[in-house]
């Protein structure tokens, strides 16, 4: 080796040193504190940029609609509302306030929460199956949730009250996941490839079941309702709908951030991850259930919205790198911005009618995905 002998000896000595203090430094870590300091300034700059983007998208989401409200007024109303009427003296029409507070704020929050949930779920699923082309829909959870909801619509089951649809969607997603698990585990280890193939097969069967239910239905309106729902949308946003997805996102993201170091190891491959000290099978199973729950809940509140969980993680990795300690918070913010913007397009492009937001995300995400495939098929592991 060309290092001088002195350097070499010094490096070897460093490698043998124990941590300076026996007491372990514990405490909440700022994401990736200290790691690759060269990228740290960039990480902060990108984060500030994404937060600014989120702010702009959210503000636009409050302004645009059947009644357009100027940015200044919209902001004043939000500040007024947040401060409980203390900070700003109202100088606007009362109808504006009702529109903003009762309709648009919950809608923007719902879109943001769903986008963030799909973004982080997608990122974690890609690490779990070690394939950057995977997404929340690949494991059959989305189609399971859709099937659950369609069963409720088809047979008019409303026994559980207003949330029947949501509960059915959640349970459908979980049931699909359990079956995918069972298929993937048959005959030994649960490998990423088996998981993906089981998920694809499951999705195919479930969409056939959904179609069958719709086609044999006596209700001629059902097809349209199901179609609208399976393409996703935030039209049903209300305050009372928000607590469950918000809590799920907060808890889910917290767990993922705590486990971020281990998620990183999954990207190294199973063999390496084990050698680096991770109980791979157990960890993968736990993360799988977590992402399934998060995805199931988003489908329950907003229908199936494609491509967010597939595309956002890619963009984030290009911006801040693949380390989950940085990438997870970034993908939550970017996913939120993207769905708010997509919803904005969906409700203004053919106003006063609304497009299902899933159409917008697919029209943007699909071509991006194709571009990604063509740009870098080899490095994505598509071609070995």
């Amino acid at each position: 080796m060309s290092n001088s002998a002195v350097d070499r000896a010094a490096h070897l000595t460093t490698l043998r040193t124990a941590p300076p203090s026996r007491r372990r430094a514990r405490g909440i870590a700022f994401p990736a504190a200290g790691a690759s300091s060269a990228g740290r300034g960039r990480f902060l700059a990108v984060t500030v940029g994404i937060i600014a983007l989120l702010f702009v998208c959210a503000l636009a989401g409050l302004m645009v609609g059947s009644v357009s409200i100027p940015a200044g007024t919209a902001l004043s109303i939000v500040v007024h509302w947040l401060s409980g009427g203390w900070l700003v003296t109202p100088d606007w029409r009362e109808a504006y306030e009702i529109i903003i507070v009762q309709t648009r704020i919950p809608r923007v929050i719902l879109a943001a929460v769903v986008g963030a949930s799909l973004g982080v779920s997608g990122m974690v699923i890609q690490a779990i199956v070690r394939n950057p082309l995977a997404g929340p829909s690949i494991l059959g959870v989305s189609s399971g949730a859709a099937t659950g909801a369609v069963i409720v619509m088809r047979f008019g089951l409303v026994t559980l009250g207003a949330f029947t649809l949501h509960i059915a969607a959640f349970l459908g997603g979980l049931a699909a996941l359990t079956i995918v698990f069972w298929i993937a585990r048959t005959g030994g280890q649960m490998t990423p490839t088996r998981l993906v193939l089981a998920g694809v097969a499951m999705s195919a069967v479930l969409s056939a079941v959904t179609s069958l239910l719709v086609l044999t239905s006596p209700d001629p309106q059902l097809a349209a309702r199901v179609l609208f729902w399976t393409l996703g949308g935030f039209g049903s946003a209300q305050w009372k709908l928000l607590p469950i997805p918000v809590i799920a996102l907060v808890i889910g993201l917290a767990i993922m951030l705590v486990q971020a170091r281990r998620l990183n190891l999954l990207m190294a491959g199973d063999e390496s991850a084990v050698a680096l000290g991770l109980d791979v099978e157990r960890f993968r199973r736990g993360m799988f259930v977590l992402t399934a729950a998060l995805t199931g809940i988003t489908v329950a509140v907003s229908g199936v919205i494609g491509f967010v969980g597939l595309i956002m993680p890619h963009i984030v990795r290009l911006l801040v790198g693949a380390d989950h300690r940085r990438a997870l918070p970034a993908v939550a913010l970017l996913g939120a911005s993207f769905t708010i913007a997509a919803d904005l397009v969906a409700r203004s492009i053919i106003a006063p009618l609304e497009l299902p937001v899933g159409i917008v995300t697919a029209l943007v995400g699909g071509p991006f995905f194709i571009w990604l495939l063509r740009r870098d098929a080899r490095s994505l592991g598509v071609v070995k």
Partner: protein
């Protein structure tokens, strides 16, 4: 110990003891069970019978992270799907030493710097892993194993993808850093040059165990590999030198 997969026995009643500081080379034809044996050491495969003891403790009675603090492994899979930088990959080696949420400390950074410098990866450290050549990748994986601060280094075909210069420097390096090394090797001459002891395996069993002189004999090479070989001494180093044909 014994390892089975279905009806096949991959490692058949093998007992090996590796004292601290020894460089043990595992030899044998493809499918002899070398990799399987190594995988039991870093806790990838649980033996169907028998135990793996590290410092006298049963590896399967301890957590995966405990084993990773004692055993560093250079394995065949490459983290090339995601845009991880070389530094990200090397830093993964610290994981088993960290509590959840514990940030990377200056101590970790110093270890990572040292391993990167030793493997001469300084200029690549902010490049993504997948843009590296095969040899550079192998060195990055060795650097990752080094920051685990292992007492035992497990190497599965470490000289794959390396040119002759890096083959020699890698083996010389791991021999000199004073850790116990268990390596599966294909090149008999490299094995003879660097290993203290060789273990020749065939169909899951140990055929011979001892110094290179004891293990590498024309009769055994004929029996295990089915090749006719002449054994000589290396003119300069004096180590056993195998000339096939």
């Amino acid at each position: 110990m014994t390892v089975r997969a279905g009806t096949q026995t991959l490692v058949d009643d093998v007992t090996l003891e590796v004292p601290p500081g020894m460089f043990l080379g595992l030899l044998g034809p493809n499918g002899a069970g070398k990799s399987t044996l190594l995988r039991t050491v870093y806790r990838m495969i649980r033996p169907d019978a028998g135990v793996v003891r590290l410092n006298g403790e049963d590896a399967w009675r301890r957590a995966a992270a405990w084993v990773a603090r004692h055993v560093g492994a250079v394995v065949q899979d490459m983290p090339a799907e995601f845009p991880l930088t070389v530094r990200d990959v090397v830093a993964m080696g610290r994981s088993a030493h960290k509590a959840l949420l514990e940030p990377d400390t200056p101590h970790d950074a110093a270890l990572i710097d040292a391993a990167i410098a030793l493997q001469q990866l300084g200029e690549f450290q902010h490049r993504t892993f997948r843009t590296l050549s095969g040899g550079e990748r192998q060195r990055a994986l060795l650097a990752r194993a080094l920051v685990q601060q292992p007492q035992i280094l497990v190497l599965d075909e470490p000289t794959n993808h390396l040119d002759i210069h890096y083959q020699l420097s890698l083996l010389r390096f791991v021999r000199e850093i004073g850790v116990t090394v268990i390596a599966a090797l294909h090149d008999l001459n490299l094995a003879a040059m660097f290993c203290d002891r060789l273990c020749l395996m065939d169909r899951g069993r140990v055929v011979a165990l001892g110094t290179p002189e004891d293990v590498l004999t024309p009769a055994r090479l004929g029996e295990v590999y089915g090749v006719d070989a002449t054994i000589q001494r290396h003119p300069r180093t004096g180590t056993v030198w195998v000339l096939p044909g």
